[in-house]
């Protein structure tokens, strides 16, 4: 029995030790790193931004974590070691500002509008916002808790449509995927998402009078482990260089 105990103790000490070393190791490497949490709808935009920035600033590793804005916000509140937050709406950024988690002033670097997305070929024969009330179609929206979902519901309210929703997807990318696959007949996503899909979904415009826009703020967080590099990154995003890429992906400039 003694030998088994000794071996177990040795093994577990080894495991614990390697975990400690691993985490220490990553701390050492954070000298040239910027960790960004960005809203799901910024996926394609920020992927390009990351590549551009890294090629102009060799030695710096930009790591982007995409997700629903509320989920990202929650992670930051719970202490995630994030440097920069780019939210899909002002409200989620405000929530961090209220808790003194934001370093400087958040800056709006892009804005977006909503659009109806349908599978390529428009099998459901969708023509406009009123089709969201059609029981016979498979209707998808983002969950109300994420910005995309809240905004979509504003649009529908503006248009006076009672939506017959079949699924509230957790984030806009999940919604887009199901539309792309043809599993849903229609959904409301961002204009930029339709653009980024490069033809795998088709867009149908929402009339300006009922459409809503969202603004994307970006800010360095007050507890950022790499605040200097983070400041650099944010400045670049809001610079002309960044703005050019923003426009390229279909976002509007502030």
């Amino acid at each position: 029995m003694g030998l088994i105990v000794t071996n177990w103790v040795r093994l577990s000490l080894l495991v614990v030790a390697s975990l400690v070393v691993a985490s220490c190791g990553s701390d050492q490497e954070s000298a040239g790193e910027v960790l960004v949490s960005a809203a799901a709808s910024l996926t394609d935009l920020f992927t390009e931004m990351e590549e551009s920035y890294e090629s102009e600033h060799p030695g710096v590793d930009v790591i982007v974590n995409f997700g629903g804005s509320p989920a990202l916000r929650e992670q930051i509140i719970q202490g995630a070691p994030v440097d920069v937050f780019a939210s899909a709406d002002l409200a989620n950024m405000e929530a961090l500002v209220e808790r003194n988690l934001v370093g400087g002033e958040p800056q709006v670097f892009a804005s977006n509008q909503l659009q109806i997305a349908v599978p390529s070929g428009n099998p459901g024969g969708v023509s406009g916002v009123s089709d969201f009330g059609d029981d016979a179609l498979l209707v998808g929206l983002c969950a109300e808790e994420v910005p995309c979902g809240r905004l979509a519901r504003e649009v529908l309210a503006n248009a006076g449509v009672m939506a017959a929703v079949d699924s509230n997807e957790p984030d806009v990318r999940a919604l887009l995927t199901k539309i792309e696959l043809g599993e849903l007949d229609l959904g409301i996503v961002y204009v930029t998402d339709v653009m980024a899909s490069e033809g795998s979904v088709e867009g149908i415009a929402i009339p300006d009078e009922v459409n809503v826009a969202t603004e994307y703020p970006i800010a360095v967080l007050s507890d950022a482990p790499n605040s200097d590099l983070a400041d650099d990154f944010v400045s670049w995003v809001t610079s002309d260089d960044g703005a050019a890429i923003v426009a390229e992906y279909g976002f509007r400039l502030p």
Partner: protein
């Protein structure tokens, strides 16, 4: 040894204590009776029980064939059945979509012919949940069937029992402990299932939003509801696991 066991146990107990610390005890009755919670509870209970029953009906024959019948490709079949255990649930859900979705391999002709659609329906949740949970039943039972002393079946046959009678009166009772373990594991997996469900069946309160989905959505905006549902899931699971362990896991 004891110290290590204690550390391991702490890993399980600490998150529960953390959860208990966040429960809004005063608001609990109101939260528990809110529509979001009762809808999700109803769906989770119905789906997890249905998935367990289907896993029994289909899983027992599968386990028996894998354990007792020699056929070419048996190892491959065993691997395929085990696959959902290893795959990330979301991948499982995506695969189900490709097969049974509206534009799926089987789903499309099925839809054209009968108008039957699994995604975005409660039956879709049942299918996704059964897909990820049934392997637990099969694996547990197959092991027991393979390790069973086959001579008992021979003895039963010598006493005049037909193959069906042998299975019913000798084989099944002799693997009963594993069968119960399989049922418990299957139900537990089904109850906690999230990834395959949200990917295949979508998320709609009252129709496809099970308790795990409700927690995930609520976590982002309504912490109180999220904690309430989490607490409810922990309590239900503990009750089931402890009750079954004590009463049914006695060896014969």
């Amino acid at each position: 040894m004891v110290v290590l066991a204690g550390l391991g146990l702490a890993l399980f107990v600490l998150p529960l204590i953390g959860l208990l610390g966040r429960v809004p005890w005063a608001d609990l009755p109101a939260l528990l009776s809110s529509e979001v919670v009762t809808d999700a509870l109803r769906i989770s209970l119905i789906v997890s029980i249905l998935a367990t029953v289907i896993s029994l009906v289909l899983g027992v024959p599968i386990a028996w064939v894998l354990a007792r019948v020699e056929f070419p490709g048996r190892s491959l079949a065993r691997g395929v059945v085990t696959l959902p255990l290893v795959l990330p649930p979301v991948v499982g859900g995506a695969a189900l979509l490709f097969a049974l979705g509206r534009r799926g391999l089987v789903g499309e002709p099925l839809y054209e012919a009968t108008g039957l659609l699994l995604p975005f329906s409660t039956w879709g949740v049942v299918v996704a949940t059964t897909f990820v949970a049934m392997p637990f039943m099969v694996i547990t039972l197959e092991g027991a069937l393979r390790n069973m002393d086959l001579r008992y079946e021979g003895a039963a046959a010598s006493l005049g029992a037909s193959r069906g009678t042998v299975f019913r009166r000798v084989t099944l009772p002799m693997v009963a402990p594993s069968l119960v373990a399989g049922i418990v594991l299957t139900w537990a997996r089904a109850f906690g299932e999230f990834g395959a469900t949200v990917t295949f069946a979508g998320n709609l309160q009252g129709r496809t939003q099970s308790l795990p989905l409700a927690v995930f959505i609520a976590l982002e905006s309504d912490r109180a509801t999220a904690v309430t549902i989490s607490l409810m899931m922990v309590v239900i699971s503990l009750v089931v696991l402890v009750a079954l362990r004590d009463r049914w896991w006695r060896t014969t």
